[in-house]
């Protein structure tokens, strides 16, 4: 095991060396030495953690949920880390930089789902589930069809999300470290498979916690540096920013982001219920000891995420002043308008503007770490769906599966997902991938969330209602996104989208709920009666946690 890890560390060095050689002859930028040194320290530390975690990961419960031994505060930081992905660090700062106030609207949409998760599902999940959210949805329904639906919903979301992360990370690393795109994607894929396959949830959680703390510290430093230049006066910051930005004072007000109420509401539904249906977020509620720790996790996570979004707002305005307004357009591409590298680089160049080369190196390494931590969580969620939901439950036909075998399957699944992520990452390099995040959130909101919600709260839910209703949610999400502006017009090149909404959740979510309800109330089978009869016992466990403690100990 230790040999494998040191071998990997060596191969990382080799990849960098090879990347540097190739990079010199091809298009990649010059190597960023401080960034690479700091990145090495991070990789060495996280591989050390993985080695430590691998010694402690013996049972399936250790692998999937770190044995339920993560504290509420630790889990809250890890959840915040999952949410503070490279996309939100770079994306939201970049949006504030480009559009000003509209960036804040987006972050508020991302945040308000969290209180709802706390009030409605966090404790319930902890009390009813064991390793995956399908444990909850299949609690009193028929195992096989419900598990297959949940696994498909999970894997679809995981793969889509991974594609977005891999492509984004490949491009980012290409710019930051001067590595070739393919090398970057393979490196990210290899490291995430190592963390997950050997270290399980324990390593995945600690990698996420370390990265979240580094990211929060780095962002806090940038925000303070920005504010210090203006004597901590927001008015002065805003005044200078509006003088520099081409949109002038318009950046201080809502702009075109939310143009019509239906798309605004639809976006809100997708973000809010989508968050409550993301498998890599839901699985974190099984890593804590009980409902009390689960609720503490959300409290900590909401606070940290909210704080982080306020920082991104300051960083975005800071970037207008110090990046856009830098002397001689130092951070601008040749056209003198867009940023060097890609559009989302505002936060990165701001790091250089306020902290010099070494701080740029630090933030680059943190951005890389962010990608690694988030893809690891996604991979673990996907692997759990394969090994726990499909292998150990749906296809075991009621037979008890050996725990060792189940863990083997999840490790192979980890490897399989890693290879798939690398291949997709390379295949989608030049593709327009804007649709994948919209699709992932819409599927999570339309297929995963309605079944989960109804299985917890509605006595009348039957297997037929959950399964067919869930598939209707899944397929309507898919169809509406394909007919929407991101796929139908941007990718397929049609003149006008048939469905004018990027996030069609306002249609697909109610459709799923109505289908689940209607197909359940018209279900008169014997099994339907059994599902209803078993609700009371489920509800007692859901409300009190009686039974869930025993389920975790082994």
């Amino acid at each position: 095991m230790f040999k494998v890890l040191s071998l990997l560390l060596l191969s990382v060095v080799a990849v960098f060396a090879a990347g540097a050689d190739l990079g010199a002859g091809t298009k990649a930028d010059e190597l960023n030495v401080p960034a690479i040194i700091m990145f090495f320290i991070f990789v060495a530390a996280t591989l050390g953690i993985t080695y430590w975690a691998s010694k402690k990961t013996k049972s399936a419960s250790d692998f999937y949920t770190a044995g339920g031994g993560i504290t509420g505060t630790q889990n809250g930081i890890a959840i915040a880390g999952d949410y503070m992905s490279a996309a939100s660090f770079l994306g939201i700062t970049g949006m504030v930089y480009l559009k000003g106030y509209d960036g804040l609207i987006f972050s508020i949409g991302f945040l308000v789902g969290w209180p709802v998760i706390l009030f409605m599902i966090s404790e319930q999940l902890r009390n009813l589930g064991k390793y995956t959210f399908a444990d909850v949805t299949s609690y009193r329904l028929q195992q096989k069809p419900v598990r297959i639906l949940a696994a498909l919903g999970s894997i679809a979301v995981v793969i889509l999300y991974l594609i977005a992360q891999m492509v984004g990370s490949g491009k980012l690393i290409e710019i930051l470290f001067g590595l070739d795109y393919e090398f970057a994607v393979v490196l990210v894929g290899a490291l995430m498979v190592m963390y997950v396959a050997f270290g399980g949830m324990l390593a995945t959680t600690w990698v996420q916690i370390i990265k979240a703390i580094l990211l929060l510290l780095g962002s806090t430093f940038m925000a303070i540096m920005v504010m210090a230049q203006f004597g901590f006066s927001f008015d002065e910051l805003f005044r200078t920013a509006t003088e520099i930005h081409s949109k002038g004072e318009a950046i201080m007000s809502p702009g075109g982001l939310v143009s019509d109420p239906i798309s605004a509401i639809s976006l809100g539904i997708a973000l809010m219920f989508g968050t409550a249906g993301l498998p890599h977020i839901l699985m974190r509620f099984f890593t804590v000891a009980d409902a009390k720790e689960a609720r503490k996790s959300v409290f900590v996570a909401t606070g940290l995420i909210g704080y982080f979004y306020i920082l991104t707002f300051i960083m975005g305005f800071g970037a207008i002043v110090f990046v856009l307004g830098a002397e001689g357009g130092a951070y601008l591409a040749e056209d003198g308008v867009t940023l060097k590298g890609m559009n989302n680089m505002a936060a990165i160049w701001l790091a250089h503007a306020v902290g010099g080369d070494y701080f740029l190196g630090f933030i680059s390494a943190v951005a890389f770490a962010t990608i690694l931590a988030v893809v690891s969580g996604l991979t673990l969620a996907g692997a759990s769906a394969v090994s726990h939901d499909l292998y150990a439950n749906a296809f075991a036909d009621g037979k008890k599966v050996d725990e060792k075998k189940e863990m083997m399957v999840s490790r192979y699944a980890t490897l399989g997902i890693g290879v798939a992520a690398i291949l997709f990452g390379i295949a989608f390099e030049e593709q327009n991938i804007a649709f994948v995040v919209a699709l992932a959130f819409t599927i999570a909101a339309s297929a995963n969330f309605p079944v989960l919600f109804m299985s917890i709260f509605w006595k009348g839910l039957t297997t037929r209602g959950a399964v067919i209703g869930g598939y209707i949610g899944l397929s309507s999400a898919l169809i509406l996104v394909i007919l929407g502006p991101v796929v139908w017009t941007s990718i397929l090149g049609n003149a006008e989208a048939i469905v004018p909404y990027k996030f069609p959740a306002v249609f697909s979510v109610p459709l799923a709920f109505i289908a689940i309800w209607f197909l359940s109330i018209t279900d008169n089978s014997e099994d339907a009666q059994r599902c209803k009869d078993e609700f009371d016992a489920q509800d007692i466990r859901c409300q009190t946690g009686i039974g869930s403690e025993g389920a975790v100990s082994h």
Binding site: V112, W114, D235, F238, R295, G303, A537, T544, G545, E549
Partner: protein, 123 residues
């Protein structure tokens, strides 16, 4: 069937089997009934509060963006929308704090009561 090893009270190491009989008993337990009704009504009230606040904000942006774009103080640069936006973020966090506080004290107290009653039933 649910199994529970109670750790409260006198170190009882007896498994509680939540069978049909026990389901009925727990449902009839006054502490349990109080826990379920109060917690769910509280959770719904807080959920509706955050939804109303968020969608009011969204509708304001959609129908009356100039309200949020108005200057906070004459001659200043900050607009009304900025403190409003930050306030929604802070408000969301405060709501989670309010829920956690009440759950940790009142709801967990009721829950302990239910568990004690159940443990007694099992003797």
């Amino acid at each position: 069937m649910l199994f529970y090893t109670p750790t409260i009270g006198l170190n009882l190491k007896k498994e509680i089997i939540v069978d049909k009989n026990m389901v009925e008993k727990i449902k009839a337990n006054p502490s349990y009934q109080k826990l379920v009704t109060e917690r769910s009504s509280f959770a719904w009230k807080l959920t509706i509060t955050i939804l109303v606040v968020y969608y009011a904000f969204i509708l304001l942006i959609a129908f009356s963006p100039e309200t949020l774009g108005a200057k906070l103080v004459a001659g200043g640069m900050a607009t009304v929308g900025i403190p409003v936006g930050v306030a929604i973020i802070v408000f969301a966090f405060i709501l989670t704090g309010i829920y956690v506080k009440r759950a940790n004290t009142e709801f967990d107290g009721l829950l302990e009561q239910v568990k004690e009653d159940v443990a007694k039933e099992m003797k």
